[in-house]
Amino acid sequence: MTWETVIGLETHVELATKTKIFCSCTTAFGGEANTHCCPVCTGMPGTLPVLNESVLEFAVKAGLALNGDITRFCRFDRKNYFYPDLPKAYQISQLYLPIVRDGRVPIRTPSGLEKVIRIHELHMEEDAGKLVHDPWLDQTKCDYNRCGVPLIEIVTEPDFRSAEEVVAYLEKLRSTLQYLGVSDCKMQEGSLRCDVNLSVRPAGSEELGTRTEMKNLNSFKAISRSIAYETRRQIELIEEGKRVIQETRRWDDNKDATFAMRSKENAQDYRYFPEPDIPPLELSEEYLDHLRAGLPEMAEEKMTRYQADYGLPEYDTQMLTGQKALADFFESTVALGADPKQAANWIMGQVLGQLSARGLEAKDMKLSPRTLVHLIELVRTGKLNRNTAVKVFEAVFADDGDVDGYVKAHGLEQVSDPGAVAGAVEAAFAANPQSVADFHSGKEKAFGFLVGQVMRQLKGRADPKAVNEAVRKKLDEAKCGLDK
């Protein structure tokens, strides 16, 4: 029998606000335990949480960018559970009136499949604290620095059929949220976390099978591998005549397998009710219009525009818009007068090359657009040849160094004096008569050798085109001499 995998995702994204969702403590990552805390986020009695206006703004922007319906009259709800990661014994979340419903995210997989993933809902909530078990004391240590950090949870419909689709969606989601500036989406710091709901069914069936939920997926690789593992596990169970049990399973990256988590003593009963401490929200048309107007241009719009305005191929536009900081850098170089195709080539080749060699992201790069524009201009006007310019680029990249100073200090200006080029050609021919003869007896290779000799004489600083021409001309003259 052939089987079909059905997957739905719940993605938690930490918002890039400066302060927590209900108090003014910093959201900065790290810090010593319990130093980013106050009576509100440690759940002291008698405190009153007040919503951070940027959280609402970021959530609405995300909802608009995911093509969702914004809930005009919106509320928070209290989700009750006793677990020490939440000192209040409840989480302020949204159940009945989530801020966004019915979104749509178009995706395209590397194998070319295009489809739309439906978003069931997007809601706002607070993150929990961190628990570490101390085996020496046999007690659990609670650190509430992350407690109260704002999150949005984005829940999809069960629309995925493969790991490839899941990864394409997450990459699209990450790029969208980064372009909006609402989250940095760093998986390694936990600011983008994903739970995978997965079931299998006979191909062609409309009915959903029993699903399991997988947690602790900290990378795209872990997501892909856990989907492969869990699909296989469920199919094997069914084919052996056993049943899949609806449960939460934890992915173990080292063992490359999922394991059932010990079920809590009781089935979850969160006893949700409207959160009395947070008054309801009523969003006006003006408020939404204002946020709509402020939405930045997204990666896809940029791709279309770069193709139309600059005549760049689709591949280039995809590379340039992969990271928002890179697209911003490209646009700045063009605004400063660089030829778009030249700028694109430099960015895709040299900039991305240096970033990957140094393990940096575009947003951490110091190189200024002005420096690159200057370098491109030096090549265009023939002051530097392309190979030398690449060397200069590598030297100035890390600290946005001084191009002119480096060129001068290392004597790299291109030799543009025709006399100097002619002299070098003369010398090369005189020193290598055999190569000249070889060329005339039909060995094309000798041409490249002679050009190389001339470049060497000029310490690589000459315009390769001018040298090519000069060598070609000299060979023609010599040939005429032979014919006579």
Partner: protein
């Protein structure tokens, strides 16, 4: 609404309360008296009345996203039943 002793057991698990065996009956009766007040409310005609979640007519109460210094850690840990000067300590909760 009838409150059974099984419901009392379930609620005590949810609220992490250990109820002495002999108090279960009395607790069930007491809870039932409280919950039966809902029947009084239930008898009112609420057709056309919007469900109410908040009693005060306020909405859109928010604060600007500006950092205010957090509290000294020692002050936050002051009343905790257990701490090690850095973290709150609770009975084993993670596996």
């Amino acid at each position: 609404m009838k409150i059974t002793e099984e419901m009392v057991d379930y609620i005590s698990v949810l609220s992490r309360l250990r109820l002495p065996e002999e108090e279960r009956g009395a607790m069930a009766a007491e809870l039932e008296r409280i919950v039966s007040y809902m029947d009084v409310l239930e008898s009112l005609d609420t057709t056309g009345v919007e469900p109410l979640s908040h009693v005060f007519p306020v909405k859109n109460v928010m604060r600007p996203d500006r950092v205010v210094p957090s509290w000294p850690r020692a002050d936050l840990l002051w009343n905790a039943p257990g701490h090690d000067d850095e973290a709150f300590l609770v009975p084993k909760a993670v596996e």
